[in-house]
């Protein structure tokens, strides 16, 4: 399964091929070139996990865009898995002291042999969190013209809902 982008996310981040913010009116710098397609996915997922809300699976692109985590995200797989477990325990209203259910959920979501550290069901859920995160992102900000504008706007979004 692995990672699948929400529909229209490519357009929102101005991807032309692998280049983000390709139509930026400001002169392009190296920084924009370093914004990966996985960064776009990750930004959406974080917002979805934060909101603990699953999106519609039909609002995903038909095919995965990446297997596993890119090098720039090395060491983050376990933390992402932790955030997914946290979001699911909350969404399913598992009591904090329900030892058996917590263990069951972890077994359901995690897989040692997977590149994402998630089971296939876990991958699928993460993609659905990306959908709800993308919806939250698009509701909150206009399509960014360049990376710096996006970074400022994304940070503002996290801090506007404390």
């Amino acid at each position: 399964m692995s990672f699948v982008l929400p529909l229209n996310a490519r357009d929102f981040f101005g991807f032309e091929g692998q280049k983000a913010f390709a139509k930026a009116s400001e002169p392009r710098r190296d920084a924009a070139a370093r914004f990966l397609m996985f960064d776009a996915y990750y930004c959406c997922v974080l917002l979805g996990l934060d909101g603990r809300k699953l999106g519609d699976e039909n609002k995903l692109e038909p095919d995965k865009f990446f297997d596993g985590y890119p090098e720039a995200f090395k060491g983050q797989a376990e933390l992402m898995a932790g955030l997914l477990v946290d979001a699911e325990l909350s969404r399913l209203q598992v009591a904090p002291d329900d030892r058996r259910r917590i263990e069951e959920e972890m077994v359901r979501l995690l897989d040692l042999t997977s590149a994402t550290r998630l089971s296939e069901g876990g991958d699928r859920l993460l993609n659905r969190y990306a959908v709800s995160g993308f919806e939250r992102l698009r509701d909150a900000m206009m399509q960014p013209d360049n990376l710096e504008e996006f970074l400022v706007g994304y940070h503002a979004l996290w801090n506007s809902e404390q």
């Binding site: 229209n8 983050q76 932790g82 030892r99 972890m106 897989d111 940070h155």
Partner: protein, 646 residues
């Protein structure tokens, strides 16, 4: 290949068939005359023979009509055959309570000689035994007249049945059904079936394709114009800078602005990279995420999750003879340990949870770091905007001092930027694939390439479906026309072949008068030097013609079939009976003829001379509705009974 009837029997069937068995012997004579008075079940026997051979489905009423009386619940009819020397018994079992009739077959070759459900004759024979063909050899005497009758189609029906031409009709009906099925399936995509409808769909697709060409052209034109304008903007920027730089004071200020702008771009780029690196670590994004990760890690420690003992440990333990505590492990303990092992996680599950737990425990971050990057970034962006304004202001001041050339250049630059903005919007309208943007821009398939592609795809699918359906229907029509032609041509050839064979037989048997079949057109049209085309033949000759036709026809069947006939001469006067009696015996390999006593004179006595190959059976009524089977010529001759008395 040969089929012979070796006998039949019945139980609990109405009339004299309550208990009757006719045995023709394993090697039946060529001719058998079965004398049965009227009302004893000749017609019923003929029908049961036909139904048993074809495995006909009887209605409950038909079954109950066969019931001997209310005291019996079940009945039976069995016909015995010899097919190429092998014996087959076909049983029709009647259940008068539920009105059902089921068929069973006993084969000598079958394992144990037992009965098997259904009719299990050799495949080729079973395919041949269709009701329309069986009618030809388990023969209803009236059919002879129908075969002759030009106003009916019995003769051609018989040819069609024997040579399987009816299959062509079945094929035609199957084609109709497939075409209808395809049209119904296609109706969900397009209702067009006719040429006009397809033309309409083709025009509709062409329209969408033209729209796509137009949109592509627009996009190319717009992109080209934008590239021109970008170059123009760069040129105008350069010319404005050059014009401004003619003033030494302004030149120094512009140089400072340009230099600072370059520094700012570098700083913004660096900050963006630093911010992006921070963003890629979840605990650095926001304190809330850090808190959640640490809370979950803490909870796992508090709950002592995961269990440190794995299911593998217990599975291994269950194989040991002694527990770690030293106590022996017996079958009961082993079973309990194996069962409870499933409650523990596997080693790899424990490992992944432990890895996550460790990562959560060690998670740390400084969300303030991101906040600081953003603060700096915002500051640089603001300064960049200010520098841009400064540059604009310098230009405005210069123009205010009366520099008309600069004013013109700036006006041109303004127009250039405005047009670029308009064209960028045009490009977005033309190219956006984002469904939400498409809706908010209110674009349609006529103004947006992605929507136009989707429209073309849909219209092409409609056209394709309609074209395929129409083509399918046309192919079906051609196929049916071919089948009709094949059927018609085959019938002509076969008819001519049967007619010629019939005439050869008639030449041999009707030596005194030359009667020929001139045409088979539904019925048989005869001609003779003396009778003209419309008939005038005697009834005996007419019957002989019908039988000659049937034998010619059946001679081509893959099996030599017996001929069973009911009252072949009853309607004929004595002179004609003698003629028929003399004529027809030579036609068939096995003939079973049901006769009544009044047919003896003239017809039956024609067989008396053929001593060795004739078998005589008389079915005589005795008390209680039962019958006695009397074999032999003498009993046949001696039997006297008033017809209609039973």
């Amino acid at each position: 290949m040969e089929v012979l009837v070796t006998g039949w029997r019945s139980e609990n069937v109405r009339g004299a068939l309550r208990k009757m068995e006719i045995n023709l012997g394993e090697d039946p004579k060529r001719w058998t005359l079965v004398q049965m008075p009227n009302g004893m079940g000749k017609t019923t026997t003929m029908k049961l023979l036909r139904d048993s051979l074809s495995g006909a489905e009887l209605t409950p009423q038909e079954v109950r009509d066969l019931r001997a009386d209310d005291k019996v619940d079940t009945g039976l009819f069995e016909v015995r055959l010899r097919v190429d020397g092998k014996t087959f018994r076909i049983q029709m079992r009647l259940d008068f309570r539920d009105g059902s009739a089921t068929y069973w077959t006993a084969r000598a070759a079958a394992r144990g000689g037992g009965l098997e459900e259904g009719i299990a004759l050799p495949r080729e024979l079973q395919q041949l035994l269709k009701p329309t063909l069986i009618e030809l050899f388990v023969f209803n005497g009236e059919l002879a007249n129908q075969i002759r009758d030009l106003s009916r189609t019995r003769a051609t029906e018989a040819i069609r049945a024997l040579y399987g031409l009816d299959v062509l009709g079945d094929l035609s009906r199957r084609i109709d059904s497939l075409v209808e099925q395809e049209q119904r399936r296609a109706a969900s995509v397009s209702s067009a079936k006719e040429e006009r409808g397809i033309r309409r769909l083709q025009n509709s697709l062409d329209e969408a394709r033209r729209a796509k060409d137009r949109l592509n052209q627009q996009e190319r034109g717009t992109a080209t114009r934008m590239a021109e304008l970008e170059r123009q903007r760069e040129r105008l920027d350069g010319e404005i800078d050059a014009r401004m730089s003619e003033d030494a004071g302004l030149r120094a200020r512009i140089e400072r602005i340009t230099e600072r702008q370059a520094q700012l771009d570098g700083s913004i780029s660096l900050l963006s990279v630093q911010m992006l690196d921070a963003l890629r670590r979840p605990p650095h994004v926001h304190p809330r995420l850090l808190e959640r990760l640490q809370t979950l890690g803490g909870r796992l420690y508090e709950l002592k999750l995961p269990e440190s003992i794995s299911s593998e440990f217990f599975r291994e333990l269950s194989k040991a003879t002694e527990c770690v505590c030293g106590r022996p492990i017996g079958p009961a303990e082993r079973s309990a340990i194996t069962e409870r092992a499933a409650r523990y996680l596997a080693q790899d599950q424990i490992s992944i949870i432990n890895q996550m737990k460790l990562a959560l425990r060690e998670s740390s971050g400084d969300p303030g770091e991101s906040a600081e990057f953003v603060r700096q970034l915002q500051e640089k962006l603001r300064e960049r905007r200010e520098l841009r304004t400064d540059r604009e202001r310098l230009t405005s001041e210069r123009i205010a001092e009366g520099d008309q050339v600069l004013a013109k250049l700036r006006a041109q630059l303004g127009e250039c930027k405005e047009e670029l903005t308009t064209l960028a919007a045009t490009i977005e309208r033309l190219t956006t694939k984002d469904t939400i943007r498409q809706r908010s821009l209110r674009v349609t398939w006529e103004t947006n390439q992605a929507l136009c592609d989707a429209e073309i795809k849909m219209r092409a699918a409609r056209l394709n479906t309609a074209t395929k359906t129409r083509s399918f229907a046309l192919q079906g029509k051609h196929m049916k026309a071919l089948l009709t032609a094949i059927g018609s041509r085959s019938l002509d050839i076969l008819t001519e072949s049967v007619r010629s064979a019939t005439n050869k037989k008639l030449e041999q048997i009707l030596k005194s008068e030359r009667i020929q079949v001139s045409r088979i057109a539904g019925g048989l049209e005869l001609q003779s030097s003396g009778i003209g085309a419309k008939g005038g033949v005697s009834e005996g000759q007419s019957l002989a013609v019908a039988y000659a036709f049937l034998t010619s026809l059946l001679a081509d069947a893959p099996y030599r079939l017996p001929f069973i006939v009911d009252s072949p001469a009853v309607s004929l006067d004595t002179a004609v009976r003698r003629e028929v009696g003399d004529l027809i015996p030579g036609f068939f390999n096995q003939m079973v003829m049901f006769v009544i006593s009044s047919e003896r004179e003239g017809f039956a006595d024609a067989f008396y001379a053929r001593k060795s190959d004739v078998q005589y059976i008389t079915v005589a009524p005795v008390d209680d509705g039962l019958v006695e089977i009397r074999p032999g010529l003498q009993a046949f001759k001696d039997f006297h009974m008033q017809e209609g008395a039973v």
